[in-house]
């Protein structure tokens, strides 16, 4: 396995989950040791690096999960780990001036005294980058930096990477979003099963080539699902002139039986809040929400589940899974009362039976042992278990938020297949996503939001990446 990063250029590193991207860059950053081979930095050869040595050599890494100290100020966070001091006492004036200098070089304007917890995600990322660039940074590694950024923030990040490139920094950019490769990278490098399978100038390869290199088989371009003759007979979920203070307003949205509706918008457009309101996590400040049998409004998730609604949260680890509990428990959690005898006593056999019912239907790749801890499964398979939750609880409406975030291409297609099959059986699905390819590949009709308002309703062949993108920017 060989990898070259040249100063003043951006190298995009692609691959499915588990292809070896993270291991590779962690060897560079000194977290792991290579079994064989060497690392050459500016002419000097190293057998292995530890984190301190990697830092001294000018290698900096920005992790997916931002690791700032949230209660400390912006200035302290920028200078963290190398606070200027005199005789053991921190010189606060030097801290502020050095941090201010760094941030202005990067062309950003942040309040130095503000605690980092008060910043938006993109601003926190800038703080991380500023810290990383202190001293002699030769090589900057970014691991999926745009996963949590809004459209404008992504633009700002790209402009910012451009400036770093001009300063002669070598940038290694790990991403799942293929549309970003052409935008930002000079060269591209694809990994599969720990081996390098494609390498070359970024402009030379199209999307289809990159995908087939990643998964090892041709999956082709983004395609619409086969059109289906189906008119919903009943409305399962309906928002009428609904509003939620500071998130969305004047919202009319309905999901009927047997249809997959996409709610598309950039992060911060209000789509996430609509999803939460549909599941009773968030209360409407005005308007109506009707769930199933004409019931008005929802007070909390427990009621939503009783009304036949299932909910897949965007952040699987934080809001979805019980990571240290078994797959069977994770899958049967919302159905416990129904599985229990006299709504009270539950046997692990009935949980295991529930798991067995959905294991093959959802093509969960596991040891098929209901006692296996869910944390030991890959992201895609965890997501399948969490989807199984709502099949077991016989939900009539599914609200799926970012159902394939952090899921590799193969598992993604299986999840799409499951969702389509469910809708054919009469389940109404609302897919809330910020991934336009997901909308194109999955939904029957799409509703696009921008800044808390619906900007477009698209049907059938109108659903294209271009239409979605322009509507999401509020251009309708």
């Amino acid at each position: 396995m060989n990898l070259d990063a040249t100063g003043g250029s951006v190298l995009a590193l692609l691959g499915e989950n588990g292809a070896g991207k993270s291991t590779l860059v962690k060897i560079l950053a000194g977290d792991y040791e290579a079994d064989a081979g060497s690392i050459e930095i500016a002419g000097a050869t190293h057998r292995s690096l530890d984190p301190v040595a990697a830092r001294r050599q000018g290698i900096r890494m920005i992790f997916q999960e931002l690791a700032a100290a949230p209660d400390l100020s912006v200035a302290e966070n920028v200078m963290l780990g190398q606070l200027p001091s005199r005789r053991g006492f921190v010189s606060w004036r030097a801290v502020r001036s050095a941090a201010a200098k760094m941030l202005s070089e990067l062309g950003v304007d942040l309040d130095l005294a503000a605690p980092v917890s008060s910043l938006r995600v993109a601003e926190r990322q800038v703080v991380e980058i500023a810290r990383a660039l202190l001293g002699e940074a030769r090589c900057l590694i970014l691991d999926e930096p745009t996963a949590a950024l809004s459209y404008l923030e992504v633009e700002r990040l790209f402009a910012f990477l451009q400036r770093l490139r001009e300063r002669g920094v070598a940038i290694i950019y790990i991403t799942h979003r293929l549309d970003e490769v052409a935008r930002v990278a000079d060269r591209v490098h694809v990994l599969r099963d720990g081996a390098s399978v494609l390498e070359g100038p970024a402009g030379a390869y199209g999307r289809a080539e990159l995908v087939s290199a990643m998964v090892g088989k041709a999956l082709g371009e983004v395609q619409r699902p086969a059109p289906r003759e189906h008119t919903p007979a009943t409305t399962l979920l309906r928002f009428e002139q609904a509003a939620c203070q500071g998130a969305f307003a004047n919202l009319d949205l309905e999901v009927g039986d047997g249809e997959v509706v996409g709610l598309y918008g950039r992060i911060g457009s209000g789509t996430a809040e609509v999803a939460e309101a549909a599941f009773g996590v968030r209360r409407l400040t005005s308007g109506r929400l009707e769930a199933r049998a004409g019931g008005l409004g929802l007070h909390g998730p427990a009621q939503a589940i009783q009304a036949g609604i299932g909910f897949l949260p965007a952040d699987r680890q934080r809001d979805g899974a019980f990571m240290i509990r078994s797959v069977a428990e994770n899958l049967s959690a919302p159905s416990w009362s129904r599985l229990a005898a006299a709504r009270l006593f539950i046997w692990s056999e009935s949980e295991a039976a529930a798991y067995a019912r959905w294991h093959d239907v959802l093509r969960i790749r596991s040891r098929n042992n209901p006692k296996q801890t869910i944390g030991t499964l890959s992201g895609g398979n965890q997501q399948k278990v969490l989807l199984g939750r709502w099949l077991e609880s016989r939900s009539r409406v599914l609200v799926l938020v970012e159902p394939t975030r952090g899921v590799d291409v193969g598992a993604r297609i299986e999840i799409y297949g499951s969702i389509r099959r469910l809708s054919e059986e009469g389940v109404g699905v609302l897919v809330v996503t910020s991934d336009h390819e997901e909308v194109v590949q999955l939904v029957d009709r799409a509703v696009v939001m921008s800044r808390g308002k619906i900007t477009a309703r698209l049907d059938g062949d109108e659903i294209t990446v271009e239409r979605l993108a322009s509507a999401a920017e509020g251009l309708a």
Binding site: V281, G300, P301, I305, F311, R318, F322, R325, A333, W347
Partner: protein, 318 residues
């Protein structure tokens, strides 16, 4: 069997969580039975079980709380509070009335703990640290600092219905079984594990977390009431000093039994083994003539040793 499962570290990883403790329990038993000829006698086993009965009655619902990620540090004070109210009321009123009022008062403390943690949202550690101090003080106030004798209430603590086994041991076993069933075979128990392993996710699968945690605190207080009555009956007195420092023993037993301090893991069977380890250690040290002051040192070292071993095992497992 994969490569990872072979060899010594593989063996360690495949052991069930409680087995290391059981090995320790057996080693401890063998050690003291060699050191003291009285150790293995039936009467000595009854001494050990009687000595851990009150702590065990309280540790059982404590295990349930800890799997939901919650603590109850006020257990010792609630025990004393119950005993003092019972003893003082029994001076002038019917015993059954005194018992009823004392139990109701203890459950009232559980309601306060539960209310502060689930409705007001105060951290459980802080809440129960506060009630620990307040109700120890209130017990002193009610008893005016005095130990009060109780007559005609000996049966619960001292009767020995079969094989010379005292009633508190039966009470302990009954409480352990009830909580075991609760944790293993009820929706409530499942929900408590879920709350402890991920409170956000628990809410999103429809678990009514606040209600369930509230019930957990009430159950803990009810167990303290039972423990307080057993102590009062055993000693024929109610004292405001009952259960001083008991929270340490209770938490030691639970954590020795494999419960995670951050919630989501734990079992009553583990706690029962943890209780036995503590009981045998205290008893064995007494029998072999070790200065009682050393017993606290031994218990502290045991707690740290057991948890360190567990951490090492987890790291090998990674």
């Amino acid at each position: 069997m994969t490569d990872r499962d072979r060899g010594f570290s593989g063996l360690l990883r495949r052991l069930p969580e409680a087995s290391a403790l059981i090995v320790f329990l057996i080693a401890e038993t063998i050690f003291f039975s060699v050191k003291s000829e009285f150790f293995l006698a039936w009467d000595n086993w009854l001494n050990i079980l009687t000595a851990i009965s009150v702590i065990g009655i309280i540790a059982a619902p404590g295990t349930l709380l800890l799997t939901a990620g919650q603590f109850d540090l006020s257990v010792g004070s609630v025990t004393a509070f119950t005993a003092v109210i019972m003893a003082n009321l029994a001076l002038s009123h019917d015993t059954s009335l005194a018992v009823a009022v004392a139990v109701a008062a203890a459950i009232g403390v559980g309601v306060i703990n539960g209310f502060l943690v689930t409705v007001v949202g105060v951290n459980a550690l802080i809440t129960t640290l506060g009630t620990l101090a307040a109700f120890r003080g209130l017990s002193e106030v009610i008893a005016k600092g005095q130990t009060v004798g109780v007559e005609g209430f000996e049966t619960l603590g001292t009767a020995r219905p079969v094989w010379n086994i005292p009633v508190p041991v039966f009470v302990l076993i009954a409480v352990l079984i009830v909580v075991w069933v609760l944790m293993r075979y009820t929706v409530y128990g499942r929900a408590m594990y879920a709350i402890g392993s991920n409170p956000f996710a628990a809410r999103l699968v429809g678990v009514r977390s606040r209600r369930f945690v509230f019930i957990g605190f009430v159950l803990s207080a009810a167990a303290c009431a039972l423990g307080g009555l057993v102590l009062t009956s055993q000693l024929s007195v109610g004292s405001p000093l009952f259960g001083t420092g008991m929270e340490l023993s209770v938490i030691t037993a639970i954590v020795l039994g494999g419960a995670s301090l951050s919630g989501g893991r734990g079992s009553v069977v583990g706690t029962a083994v943890g209780l036995m380890i503590i009981g045998i250690l205290n008893n064995g040290l007494t029998l072999t003539g070790v200065d009682p002051f050393w017993q606290n040192v031994a218990r502290g070292a045991l707690l740290i040793g057991a948890v360190s071993f567990d951490r090492l095992r987890a790291r090998i497992g990674e």
